[in-house]
Symmetry: D4
Subunit: 249 residues, 8 copies
């Protein structure tokens, strides 16, 4: 449409109907965003082959199903995050064909096997079993985003041998996502063992002075390992997104 | 320049040198910001008759003097905020003609009497003598911004009679700026006495549980008077800016 | 009654029954609040044409219905805020004639079309769909308060083009209410695009380091745009109240 | 029993069975707390005519009933605080004769009319209707503690006239308890109107930046009125206890 | 002056110049605060025999000296709080006759021996030597306010015997001020030993997790002794003020 | 397996198949963790005779039962912490033979009487009845860990006599665990009465300014008794673990 | 004296001057603290061979020197903590014979070699060079308290090999003090490598989100290693005190 | 040395002096860290061509000079961060040849032109002039680490046009570092304009509710742009380190 308006204007310039100065004036006042729309487009994600992502909380099964239907009708994949068992069930009843990962709370509509376009391994490391849902979210998203992903779990800093035993795997990774609650020390230790970027995800797991993930968050931000950066508490999705961008470089 | 480029392109469309579709393509890829620049201009403040404002902290007397000189050479007024006695002295030694208000820590280069363009009275109300510097900043900025300003001081909530004795003045105001430290209750009380917008400024004055203005800030945000909105701690300038915009409506 | 007492006293002064000095003494000790009552009246809101507002939380359907009945019997409109579906249903069962807005959680008893008395447009801008309830509260209250209101939604700072595409609407507004959760950056960006007062409303939407709206609140208070002031977290009502007062100036 | 042991020892000293020095030694090693028990006794409250108080939360109806029964069997009054409707009902089903105040959540077993032993009036002042439960707790406890009590409600700082209209009552009070949520400004204002001790009670009522009563608490602690002291958030009972002690002086 | 206006009006009523109804109208619109001024007077403190108090911080020696001079000329005592050695020296050089207490940082102009008007003993209890300045402020102010005062120091909760050895003194007190930094446990322990009101003063003494007095403040607010109320961190003056009001009852 | 690899390499060195330098190289690159595994073993706890501990929250009855079964089949004891009544019931239905302590929320599979291996008495001291669950957890864990344990309850700092009456018991203890909510003053007082290590456990019991145990935590960290160290809020298990290690020294 | 009073009373019982019941009464009211004094004595520390400790901050060189002199005259050692270079110099000028440790800021008056009475090794572990002052305080105090002490420094969690290389030393320790700033992860890692009690000391070293040691403190409190307990930020002295008590068991 | 020990052992295996099984045993108990040292080496940074980095604060000029000398003697570059003008001057007086960047507070000993090994552009974006020191640190470190670096400054979110005008540069970057204080909104806006990883650095610049960078930190963590991750407040160095690792992938 925007292009249509522009085309019409230019045609009239060409035909002499509109003077150069008058056209200039019109162009100067043309809402620049319309002109810019094609470039700063909302479909950036799709052009990169990343699926549309729907953040589940606060949305009803019907609302989610609607978004899913639109995408499906357009032949596009869609990933719903933080969606519980019941809601997932209801969405799938409405729109068949979804794959649900109850641990990572991810509902996926798209090809079962997403082609690998990431250049290396994204390794998701998790301290305790209670951090597993966030780690599973990160791993699940990273896979749907086209990365080769490994999940290394139950490697706490109070039992280093399991972590050290996996040093080959750690060194193989191109990007690492490290998930930890409580004191959040794992990214520092992992960061010291590798020379690749480490994306730390604090989790809200814990009690007392963990203050809903604050202890882990502060611990990760003040990490003594310089190759660590941090995303929001429980934000497994964000970590996977950043890791994907890095892994495509 | 942007207009020159556009003009040239349009001229070539007109002359038939460039096809409509080709021009369309060029326009679509023209950096939209260049086109948009004239509209989202930086000179908004000046067009409104508001002086350029320089935030003083972290700048040397020389740096401030340089900005002042540029403005002065362009025949434009300039207001420096949060500038201490010594720095003000040094700037004035470098660029003569400045007026300095040591209480509000404001250094002004411009006409001594700024024409009044605000439609009504901006009333600055302050609880204690220790809140006076912030109140003076708000009042000084509001004056330089072209408002009629009154300053009502030392009207704490623990001595209501002084405040109540000024009710005529309170009701005369078109916009009110209320400055208070410690428990920050004054805006609620003033807000209950008037039916005009009240801009509350918490100050960092106080000790102990005032926590650097936090007590006052929270008190103002949770005010039981619905006509109160809040700016940052000690932000007399911001309050004056908002009040000016309101007073010009 | 107060007037009666005064009238009697004055009559006795006139008749010579009471000496001037004695009357003076009596007047000096007359409870000043009784005299003052007529001026500092509780009906200020009504005289301005603003409806009575009832804050819903913690009140039973029966308690709300009672207030509504009293107002309705007096021929006065009343607006109930933060009232859920069930309670609204029950109130309407008790007092017919209410209009319920489930998104903004507003229950309204009054004329369907409130006459416009505000001088310009109040524009409510909202970042994400999850901020919509607070935005809807602000918009709904502003409408019931007699303002022309537009609601511009889903214009996040991470996708500027949608926001920039609405720049005409932004510039048309006389006052803006900007609602945002998470990092609360939208008011700064909007504040930079307009030269009108911007009332920022942080929302408690979000998780992790949003800390129930604290991140958004701090972000708005420290905004680098000088035309931004802030109300309490989720306080869509307060924002609409301040905006209304400004819009009537 | 302790006295028995002592009596036996002294008898043996008297009879010459035990030497003075040996008795001295025994006394020096006698568990001093046993000797001290009578003085630092647990029955201090009872001797002052204060009823036993049971803090309800976390206790089952059966547990409360048991304490009540023991007290009742001993002919002593007992007051249960923070007890909800259901639990109160169940306790009263088990132990008849209790008086329940649903607003203040107080369950009382004792004389309907407690004799007044406090020397003056304890005035409980409350800002909003939502602060009423805490105010009612304070008032109810103060009454059961033998004070003459008045409750002055709905006198917010944003509507001073109602408060000022009650200045006679305010000046009559010997001790004041002021209850307020949100910004907690009421104690400062009341404190400025009287020259008696004011006990401020912040409440957890509110939302957003009230942070569960923190805003009110900080506001009260930083009050600019010097006759204000503060108890814990929602601690109506503690305020009544302190007020009672003061009122008996 | 207000009285003059009133007198004139009444005289004109008497003379028939002004009708009763007209006078009534005028009176109704007379600024009530002027009428009320005599009653809500600022001189409340003086009538109670309490000296004027000047809060020192942020005031220059010259500013303090000026206030002192005015009071001295009126034959009235004045107490300056939180004034350091140097400033006190400079004030005394300007206005002779002051008594300075360097520990409590109090500068006093008035009779050396203030007559005792408080009814009983105000006991100031202090945990550590580092809390002494605040305790000395409380004790010094209480003395200047006309109370009999004792100071019991160095009685920490980790060495109970010193405290218990003073139980006679504790029981003698009519009001107690308990000053403590770090964990702030002393008021709870003292509160359990007496049945009089205890005013707790947290101090900012300490390091690490004392967070500038926050730990002590929270500890005192959550005290398990019901006869404890709290004033602001380091607010020895406020504690003495409240204690004085109680001790005069 | 690791040993097998090493053995094979050494055999080939011996036979001359592999040169010393080549073997050296291989050894240098042998994953050190495999070699180190035997030393940093996971079975440390078992070798010390400490039972396996399962943290209950977030685990289903089935998941817990599975761990229990594995341990039971291996003839090893297992202790489940923080397990509620219902879950415990379900686990016991699946795996018979468990002992459940509802107060301490501990489920134990192992010998009824654990042999005492700790050298002295572990004394668990608790302030109020509401702290009892955490104290019971600490006591229960300490018993299952092979300590002689006593539990001293209801000894608050506001009623010192009960605590002082137990001084013999306090002095008998080799290690003390002190559990307290609200102001958390008990560890300081107990710490002053004994010269043994005191492990303080703050609890989340309380309301208002206790902020979920924060007040108690800060109070304990800033304790004026030097023999106090602190574990996480509500962490009765951790306190028992540290106490056990100390008691075995 | 107390004993004298008791002796006189008993003598009068024996002689028949005082009746048993009368003596009983007198004893019951004898201030129990006097009787108890000998048991809850202040000299506990000295009897254990621990030196007197003076906390330096807030004390003048003269005040410190005075305490030192008293102890020296009594032939007793004394340790001054947190004393800077200048003050230490001045104290030593006043009282010769002191040993000063500038790193740990400890001033010691006593035998150069304190006899070892602790049963095993106290190992002080420190993460970074900036944590060294606190570690040195802990080590210095532990030595003066009669422990064999080793100091293992510069073993951060981001470079595990240095820590692992010291595993023999770690396993030799009977008690460990682990000092760390920033994220405070070291105690968790060390706690996982040993089965002895670990006393964690957060330090205020760091910037940004370390918030003066808060990040380290929270990290240590939420440690996933169960053998870790925590003392206040920067409290090297307290850690050494607890470690000494444990090491003497 | 380790290799020497291994070599000797292997030689003795080869010669038959030591049996395979005995050698196996020795190897199994060989401190694994010694064997591992070569792999988990401290020189990882150097092998990657990254210079040694010295964190300046808390170190004297002499201490810094010493480290610099050691590196220089080994022919290795060294970079000192957060070093002020005076200290830098003194270090350079001791060790000639250093380059000092006063804005970024970086002192560099190494080749003036570091060869570019990073694959793309590292773009450092900064909001205000007061954030410039942190931006300059990030840019300076990134350059010394072998990246092509551009610095885009003064592009605040309240003046979007400057930012939008640089969209070509933004899109050219392979990794972006975005530095902002106050509300920290810039990374969200930049993150929405590019599809590359964005490393956000909050700065402690600001006043009032910026709380030393906390507002910016929370804003960045809760960013609505999914490609943003965060490092510690003011940690320009850390951001450059992570960016370098990403840019080498």
């Amino acid at each position: 449409m925007d292009r249509d308006r522009l085309r019409a204007l230019l045609a009239r310039v060409r035909s002499g109907e509109v003077e150069v100065e008058a056209a200039l004036e019109q162009l100067a006042h043309l809402p620049f965003v319309e002109a810019g729309y094609a470039r700063v487009d909302t479909h950036r994600a799709l052009r990169q082959g990343l699926p549309e992502v729907v953040y589940g909380p606060g949305k009803s099964a019907e609302q989610i199903a609607e978004v899913v239907r639109v995408q499906r009708d357009a032949g596009l994949p869609v990933l719903v995050t933080r969606v519980g068992d019941d809601t997932a069930e209801q969405v799938r009843a409405r729109v068949p064909g979804g794959h649900y990962d109850p641990l990572g709370r991810l509902l996926w509509y798209g090809p079962e096997e997403v082609p690998i376009v990431g250049k290396g391994l994204v390794l998701v490391v998790s301290a305790g079993t209670s951090d597993l849902p966030v780690a599973a979210e990160a791993a699940g998203v990273a896979r749907r985003y086209g990365n080769r992903v490994e999940l290394l779990t139950d490697v706490g800093v109070a039992g280093l041998h399991r972590l050290l035993a996996s040093s080959a795997l750690l060194r193989e990774a191109r990007v690492l996502i490290v998930v930890a609650g409580m004191e959040g020390a794992l990214p520092s230790v992992v960061g010291g063992l590798v020379d690749k970027p480490v994306i730390a995800v604090p989790t809200s797991v814990g009690y007392g002075a963990s203050f809903g993930g604050l202890a882990a968050l502060l611990g990760m931000l003040t990490s003594c390992a310089s190759n660590v950066c941090v995303v929001n508490i429980d934000n497994g999705f964000g970590a996977a997104h950043v890791a994907t961008l890095i892994n495509r470089l």
